[in-house]
Amino acid sequence: MKTVVVVGNGMVGYKFCEKFVAKASKEAFKLIVFGEEPRPAYDRVHLSEFFQNQDAKALEMAPREWYAEHGIELITNARVSDIHRNSKTITTTADATYTYDYLVLATGSLPFVPPIEGVEKEGVFVYRTIEDLEHMMAYANKLKAVNPDAKAAVLGGGLLGLEAAKAVMDMGLEPHVVEFAQKLMPRQLDIRSSKVLQVKLESLGINIHLNKATNQILGDTAITGMEFGEDDTLDVDMLVISAGIRPRDDLGKTCGLDMGVRGGITVNNKMQTSDPEIYAIGEVALYNHMIYGLVAPGYEMAEVAVSQILGETEVLMSEDIDMSTKLKLIGVDVASFGEPFMPVEKGHSILFENKTKYLYKRINVSHDGKTLLGGILVGDASDYNILHQMYLNGIPLPENAEDLILGTRADGGSVFGSAMDLPDTAQICSCESVSKGAICEVVKSGECNSVNDVISCTKAGTGCGGCKPMVSDLVNETLKSLGKVVKETICEHFEYTRQELFGIIKVKKLQTFNEVLDACGAGDGCETCKPLVASIFASLYNDTANKEDVIQDSNDKFLANIQRNGTYSVVPRIPGGEITPQKLMVLGQVGEKYNLYTKITGGQRIDLFGAQLNDLPAIWKDLIDAGFESGHAYGKSLRTVKSCVGSTWCRYGMDESVSFAIDLENRYKGLRSPHKIKGGVSGCIRECAEARGKDFGVIAVEGGWNLYVCGNGGATPKHAVLLAEQIDNETCIKYLDRFLMYYIRTAAPLMRTAAWLEKLEGGIEQLKAIVIDDSLNLAEELEHDMQGLVDAYECEWKQVIEREELQSRFKHFINSEDRDDNIVFVPMRDQIMPEPWSTN
């Protein structure tokens, strides 16, 4: 049995193990892996996600048990300190000695810390490991506790620096990026695109300082600022250094392997170092005089080293390494591929720039206009994948190459054709080197039948994830070509999409869930299809949730949101956030009478929590008697239309945003939809109502309202996009009717407007055509249907308190007036809260 010792258990070291065990027989080889970090290898590329969830396990490439299961001895918390080439042994800092037949160095790199005076000060960090992030977070929390306006700078405006800037911003610190060069991402962007990116980042609240050479870090023990030149300083309370990487090559140096002049262990195209029994892969390896700071080349190196050790000597490292990159996470699209900058002797550039929309696109094409050599995308990188593929595969360009960045201006058809047009050799997932051929093959062979199958079987999309849309296109197209229908059906009870079921129910005028099951379903239904059918009924007939309460989602069934301890919340509608002092007092009285925890919500209204099921009708009776209505805080329906104070009071207001918000909220209240809908109306572009963070947003401008659609906050925030400009109230309502009704008819279940627009073929332009130009000849029908729903509105809580037979469900027991005696409240800041759950 031969022993392979791997030094370093990072991304590439892990990938080596994974590829090795997939090929080698357990009996012939023993794999021993040393990792200096306390935990098994994790996904450094997605390191920043740690800030959101602090879940180190979620980042693991494979759990510790995986190594054991595959017969790999993983020794973490252990640093290899010496290589003895004569005896073919290594020793660790704990003085343990191990013998190897082959040695693989995958020690990665360290962040480069420039020798600036004061870098050792407290509050200066690097950004590479989970521990680095933990320390940063602890420090940031300490800072914020004493100073809510604390600032943090990132030294270095490269790919990683910008990611770090976003991270410190998310930590609640004021972010600053300090870059030595005259542009951001100097290796990927040209000056113009850097400028566009800069404007965009500044609009997000990230401060950019270019052309700054840092001389000194100021402060006694902890950092208080940075000094660039005389009288040129920046006050900051924390600093993250992201100024490049240095290969961790000391092991190679001390045992006399060939090294690069500026570091890195030299390897040939077999990944062998100058000692043929020692291999180096990943960020420590110097190949073609270069260190490649990306995972994709590292993974290829792992593949090559595995093959070479196992005797597949024909597998060699590619000559050209693709350095195309796409920035992730920061909330702005940036990508660059191939040759981003173009020497004139090679070809020409085609440029498009629109700073007001933060857009910049550049492609570089050969002199004969036939091949794509590279390019840069800022602001909209949605075509990155396909452009990147065209570049990699030398796919001939369309006649008007500019269409690639401007879109066709002729009617019909996309410029790109389909992913299916790519050659089989096209590498779709560069992290895992999965070709188009491989993806289509597993589908054709019947091995895989869905995108998820393909991802788990080929590993495509499991690296940076950038290729996922393409993988899914390929899988779906291949399935289609095999005559297999690809349909996102609702569940096992209905073989239809929501849109199809909507059509069936509408045409057949079905009225109850049983009728729908009888007409086109199977079984008893479930928690997926029942609420969906309820939502379709509501959209067609505006039935309230009282009509068939057993098919409503739990919150709709009880017309209230269930809380941690099984009690409910009560949210009356306060249209536009406007409320009379009188009504405000009623809310206070009701809260006091029923001992409800009272809070002002993020939607400009008041939430009363902790109501027991048995009390809900009585509480609502009090509220309705005082003129309130249900706020539908529990429904997939219109929530609130948020407003700012507008021209009635505000010195900047251009129009009466409150009046219009109230009109809109009252028009669409109770409107059930695939997901919740929120609106906002701002009186001017200062946008105090955050209208562009809503499913529909209206902003007063000179000459009318601008109407924006398809934005949201929540888990995946999106700004709404402009649908129409300078329109009057009436037109705005007309467009909104059409837009909302079209969304309600065509969206998938639980799909908010932003995700829906993303899926809508033709995007916002198509939506404009439908809503404004009536390209589908549907406008009248949509308006008519909406008016029908508006006219059919009834407050569902009013129905309940007026009709006794609807009240029976608001009892905890069917055979007793008792309440649930398991409910326990504990005091909190003069109010109550549920007793916390003992488990999580």
Binding site: E492, H493, F513, N514, L517, G523, D524, G525, C526, E527, C529, K530, P531, D549, V550, I551, D553, S554, N555, K557, F558, I562, R564, N565, G566, L613, S808, R809, H812, F813, I814, N815, S816, D818, D820, N822, W837, S838, T839
Partner: protein, 126 residues
């Protein structure tokens, strides 16, 4: 009406029933939904599947967070197995075996149900 026995947990055969508790009239229960019955200090969720004319009963506490809420959940079937989805986080449980169908929570207790003279009875072993 004849006795309809459904929802038998293997460990709890109807012959072990010592007490048939007369819970409420059939017409008090919602069709295709659930309601909670109080028996001594127990809370039992009872469901009526109208399409198949079948009744099931289980504990009202969801093993996930131990809140007394299962009776307020939504019923349905998973490949023919009648199930209940908890209203809190939609964990689903078989109403035949009590097993957690979409996770690895503990199984819930199931109780036998019979209908006599338009009354719903639930069987207890004590």
């Amino acid at each position: 009406m004849d006795t309809i026995l459904t929802g038998l947990q293997p460990a709890f055969q109807p012959d072990h029933v010592k007490v048939w508790f007369k819970a409420a009239k059939v017409s008090d229960f919602p069709k295709n939904g659930g309601a909670c019955v109080k028996y001594k200090n127990k809370q039992v969720a009872v469901y009526y599947f109208e399409r198949k004319d079948q009744w099931y009963a289980c504990q009202n506490a969801c093993p996930h967070k131990l809140e007394m809420v299962l009776s307020r959940g939504m019923i349905g079937d998973d490949k023919g197995i009648p199930k209940i989805a908890c209203p809190m986080h939609k964990k689903t449980f078989s109403l035949v075996t009590g097993e957690n169908l979409n996770g690895d929570l503990d199984a819930i207790s199931i109780y036998p149900v019979k209908i006599e003279d338009n009354f719903v009875y639930i069987g207890f072993s004590e």
